[in-house]
């Protein structure tokens, strides 16, 4: 609560921190490695020319640097992080511990398979959980994140079309307007053209518009369910049937599986392929942007085309199939070196086993309950975009800010000063100035009540004309609003040594 200016620039516990490149000294080093013995080299004359240019720092300096950087971040562990579509739930430390067991973390993907039976067991056990929970007969484990899973699913669809001799003609993929950006991007990367389907007033796929778009050139639909408005696609079974009738496939974006796990099996909805974000539904940590994992469950129609590698079980014996020669099926190819995100598999299985069948159902119920509680509590102070119950996230738009001069972004920034990570903003695109709030099931009622109180207070402020609270926000953060325009116009993407002082001309 002070305008106090400090000499150092540090402010109590909040430290300014330079780049490592600005602190390094040539002679300093943060490791102790023995000197080489001096055996003759065999580099074939390919020795590196010149130095690398890395800064030298001792271990204490490196530790302090990164501790200080961490202190400039918001995190789930520190506060409420209702970032819609991202499922920022609690990340249990048990999972971290399990992933670090040397039997999982310190095994090489190409060491003899005979030396890693436990790794195959883990993959196959996780696969069993995923298939059982989704009611699907197969799962491709290797995709490295949700978008990669989407690619896997679309490739499987395309491979199936090829097998039917229709890959050349079925090139159109239907994608609702509300879809996550990865959906159209993936379809395009897989060689399809993207055809957008509009949404209805109530936030779902416009069934009539959808049906009108069906035809012989349709490869399939990419539908998110629950969708990015946080709503269950009521007509999903009809959509699935229609797309199937027209010879297409149903790709379901399962990023929001969190909302229905244990209560709905996507297999019962006519899904042909669906990726699961282990880093959302099954709580592998988001790590500042990754890594994730995106296994894809597949229907009988697509299962034969699942990519390499995969684990099969015959009479309880597990086998890793890594190449076409050893495969009984028609794998469409390979998406990645090695076998997928083992480290994430361990964490996800640890999470699933901890919750069990009963707990996972409770996860969905509590996630949905929390979202509806927020929706019900805020619908009179903010503007809810749609009627009726939502699933795991509550969507608001900026109509309640009309005439206040406050925009969605300003509202979000004011939340930061209040100690919250903002919800997802401006997504989905189907409503204006979207605010997508996903509390997740790991938040308490107390936390939600405090949050609701704060949102109501902010809404009141905005309506009362207290623009300064929003325009100047955030004011209490390590940095205030940053100039993104200049950043993009004149990109500075790396540190470069300061130019030596110019000689006078």
């Amino acid at each position: 609560m002070s305008e106090k200016v400090t000499f150092t620039g540090h402010r109590g516990l909040d430290h300014e921190e330079q780049l490592i490149f600005e602190r390094g000294r040539d002679a300093a080093c943060g490791v102790d490695l023995p000197a080489p013995d001096g055996v003759a080299t065999r580099l074939g004359g390919m020795e590196r020319r010149g130095g690398v240019g890395l800064p030298g720092l001792s271990e204490p300096e490196v530790v302090r640097h990164f501790v200080r950087l961490s202190q400039k971040n918001y995190a789930i562990d520190a506060g409420f992080y209702p970032l819609g579509s991202c499922t920022m739930k609690h990340n249990p430390r048990l999972n971290e511990k399990m992933a670090r067991l040397p039997g999982f973390s310190d095994v090489h993907p190409l060491q003899p398979t005979s030396t890693v039976p436990g790794a195959l067991e883990l993959m196959s056990e996780l696969a069993r959980w995923l298939m059982e929970l989704t009611g699907m007969p197969a799962v491709a484990m290797s995709p490295k994140a949700g978008a990669h899973g989407e690619l896997c699913g679309l490739m499987a669809i395309r491979a199936a079309l090829e097998a039917r001799g229709e890959a050349g003609t079925r090139t159109r993929v239907l994608v609702p307007e509300s879809a996550h950006g990865t959906n159209p991007a993936t379809a395009a990367a897989c060689g399809f053209t993207v055809d957008a389907i509009p949404a209805t007033e109530d936030g779902r796929v416009d069934l009539a518009a959808f049906e009108a778009k069906l035809g012989d050139d349709v490869a399939g639909i990419m539908l998110t369910n629950p969708n990015t408005c946080g709503l269950f696609e009521r007509d999903i079974r009809k959509i699935a049937d229609a797309v199937h009738e027209h010879g297409g496939y149903f790709y379901c974006d399962g990023a929001n599986f969190n909302a229905i796990v244990g209560r709905v099996k996507p297999g019962d909805l006519g899904v042909d392929a669906m990726h699961i974000n282990l880093h959302k539904t099954f709580s592998t940590p988001h790590g500042g942007g990754g890594p994730g994992a995106g296994p894809v469950v597949l229907s009988d129609a697509l299962a034969p085309f699942a990519p390499l590698p995969y684990v099969t079980s015959t009479g309880g014996e597990l086998k890793l199939v890594e190449d076409e020669q050893s495969s009984d099926a028609d794998p469409f190819g390979r998406m990645v070196a090695f076998h997928g995100q083992m480290g994430m598999f361990v964490r996800a299985l640890s999470y699933m086993m901890s919750h069990g069948s009963d707990g996972l159902r409770q996860v969905a119920e509590d996630a949905v309950l929390n979202a509806n509680y927020v929706l019900a509590s805020l619908k009179d102070v903010m503007t809810a975009s749609f009627e009726g119950p939502c699933m795991h996230e509550a969507l608001f738009d900026d109509r309640f800010l009309k005439g206040t001069g406050v925009e969605t972004l300003d509202f979000a920034k004011a939340m930061i000063d209040e100690g919250y990570h903002p919800m997802t903003v401006y997504f989905p695109l189907v409503v204006h100035g979207a605010m997508l709030i996903e509390p997740t099931e790991t938040e308490s009622k107390e936390t939600l009540d405090e949050f609701i109180g704060c949102m109501a207070d902010l809404a009141r402020s905005a309506k009362a004309g207290d623009k300064a609270r929003f325009e100047n926000a955030p004011e209490l953060t390590p940095r205030r609003r940053l100039d993104e325009t200049t950043a993009a116009r004149k990109p500075v993407l790396r540190w470069t040594p300061p130019a030596p002082a110019q000689a006078a001309e």
């Binding site: 780049l19 055996v39 720092l57 950087l69 890594p291 901890s354 069990g356 309950l369 940053l482």
Partner: protein, 448 residues
């Protein structure tokens, strides 16, 4: 259930506020036929102790790299990672945050990404790097797609000594994207003639460095040949530690450098998560895939960092994006950045020297085993030997003796008879004299 804060009372009260009678009311939109009431064929919830025991039992069935003489590489390497790395990446503020969409409260993540980008550019000798891809293989495939965009052509020429998985990923992606791939045959001698394959339709040439068998050689001629045809040179580096000892691709004219960054900061993890490095020339920046972090200022004029050039990305550009990537390898970048910060110039170049020396020592002793030939005269920390028995059998027999002796080339090139007697052997700073002696002894026995 320990991770769920709501109590039965809370749930009742909340349903009341919502105006719902039971939780089922909130699932009304689910078609009735799809509502599940029967239990799953899965066990109920368990405590930490029980889960820990079950998973530990599974893990204990695997032979961990640190527990045996270990020489397996071919795209992933066993290195020592300082303990502060794993400690720091587990800090809540790094582990449990996400993509830095709100830069004011994400400067920690953004600054390390900026440092990471700088480190990758320095290591590869390139101008700029992005904030990571999933791994080396997907980075490589993204490199090909980018080359297509830059050159507006769509034919890639792949060296036969490119890691077969990398090749497979490119082929798979290209097949569906409708792009052409010319993949050469593997050449164990490391003498393949790439320039002759490049023509006016070629968008890019992809070579691995050191190559799959471990060969290191000058790429300048390939670069020149590619550039002469208007094509780009993409260099894939599966072992980034090599950059502490070898000439950089940037120095030899590469246009795009992709690499597997696992060796720095990251565990073997049976194949993932890893971290894909992606670097290129300044002029191609706007065609890059993936996230970029840039420097800027806040309203008070203080230096800060933001995600930038987002108009390349899926969340803005949708079907016109340069890639569909969203979640990347954030935390693995951090591990990479911290480990490399600890190493610094002195440590990184020494680490490379120790790796090379470890491989030289091993090659020297293995060469001396009767019947064994060294196939790669020049190498970094990985080389190939020819054995008088099928390589796959040799490796299996070594494993039974408690030595993990490398990767039989046939595992990755199953159709190719020419490689059935080849073992790709990696050595790093973790290998000791005893490890080498154990390898030689076991191999001698296996071959006798």
């Amino acid at each position: 259930m320990r991770y769920l804060p709501l109590t039965p009372d809370d749930r009742q009260q909340m349903l009341g506020v919502i105006g719902a009678k039971s939780i089922d009311d909130l699932f009304v939109d689910v078609p009735e036929a799809a509502r599940i009431d029967q239990a799953f064929d899965l066990p109920p919830h368990q405590g930490e102790l029980e889960v820990d025991r079950a998973l530990s039992a599974m893990a204990a069935k695997n032979t961990s790299a640190g527990s045996v003489p270990f020489f397996v590489g071919a795209g992933a390497y066993k290195h020592h990672v300082p303990s502060s790395v794993d400690h720091l990446i587990q800090r809540s503020e790094f582990l449990t945050s996400y993509t830095p969409y709100q830069p004011e409260i994400s400067q920690g993540t953004l600054q390390y990404l900026f440092e990471f980008q700088t480190q990758v550019a320095l290591l590869t000798g390139m101008d700029v790097a992005n904030a990571s891809m999933y791994d080396g293989s997907t980075a490589c495939s993204e490199g090909v797609q980018m080359a297509h965009r830059v050159t507006r052509r769509n034919k890639a020429v792949l060296s036969g000594n490119l890691h077969p998985h990398y090749r497979a990923v490119i082929e798979t992606t290209s097949k569906f994207a409708g792009d052409a791939v010319v993949a050469l045959e593997a050449d164990v001698t490391g003498q393949e003639d790439i320039p002759s394959q490049i023509d006016g339709d070629t968008s890019c040439v992809v070579v691995q460095y050191p190559d799959f068998f471990g060969h290191v050689g000058d790429l300048s001629d390939i670069a020149a040949a590619a550039h002469a045809q208007g094509a780009l040179l993409i260099v894939a580096i599966p072992e980034i530690v090599s950059m502490g000892a070898l000439r950089t691709p940037g120095d030899m004219g590469a246009d795009i450098v992709v690499a597997e960054g696992q060796s720095i900061g990251n565990a073997l993890n049976y194949g993932g998560p890893y971290v894909g490095l992606f670097a290129t020339r300044q002029k191609y920046v706007r065609q890059m895939p993936g996230r970029l972090c840039g420097e800027t200022e806040d309203v008070d004029g203080k230096r800060g960092y933001v995600l930038t050039l987002s108009t390349r990305e899926q969340h803005i550009r949708r079907e016109k994006a340069t890639s569909n990537i969203c979640t990347n390898s954030g935390l693995c970048c951090l591990a990479f950045t911290i480990h490399l910060a600890l190493l610094g110039e002195k440590g990184f170049t020494r680490l490379a020297a120790l790796n090379h020396e470890s491989a030289c020592k091993l090659a020297g002793t293995l060469e001396a085993v009767p019947g064994v030939d060294l196939v790669t005269p020049a190498f970094f920390n990985e080389f190939t030997i020819r054995t008088p028995k099928p390589a796959a059998d040799v490796i299996e027999a070594l494993a039974e003796k408690g030595v993990l002796g490398g990767v039989p080339a046939s595992r990755l090139m199953p159709g190719d008879d020419a490689v059935s007697d080849l073992i790709i052997v990696a050595a790093t700073e973790v290998n000791t004299d005893q490890d080498r002696a154990a390898y030689v002894a076991a191999l001698t026995e296996v071959l006798s």
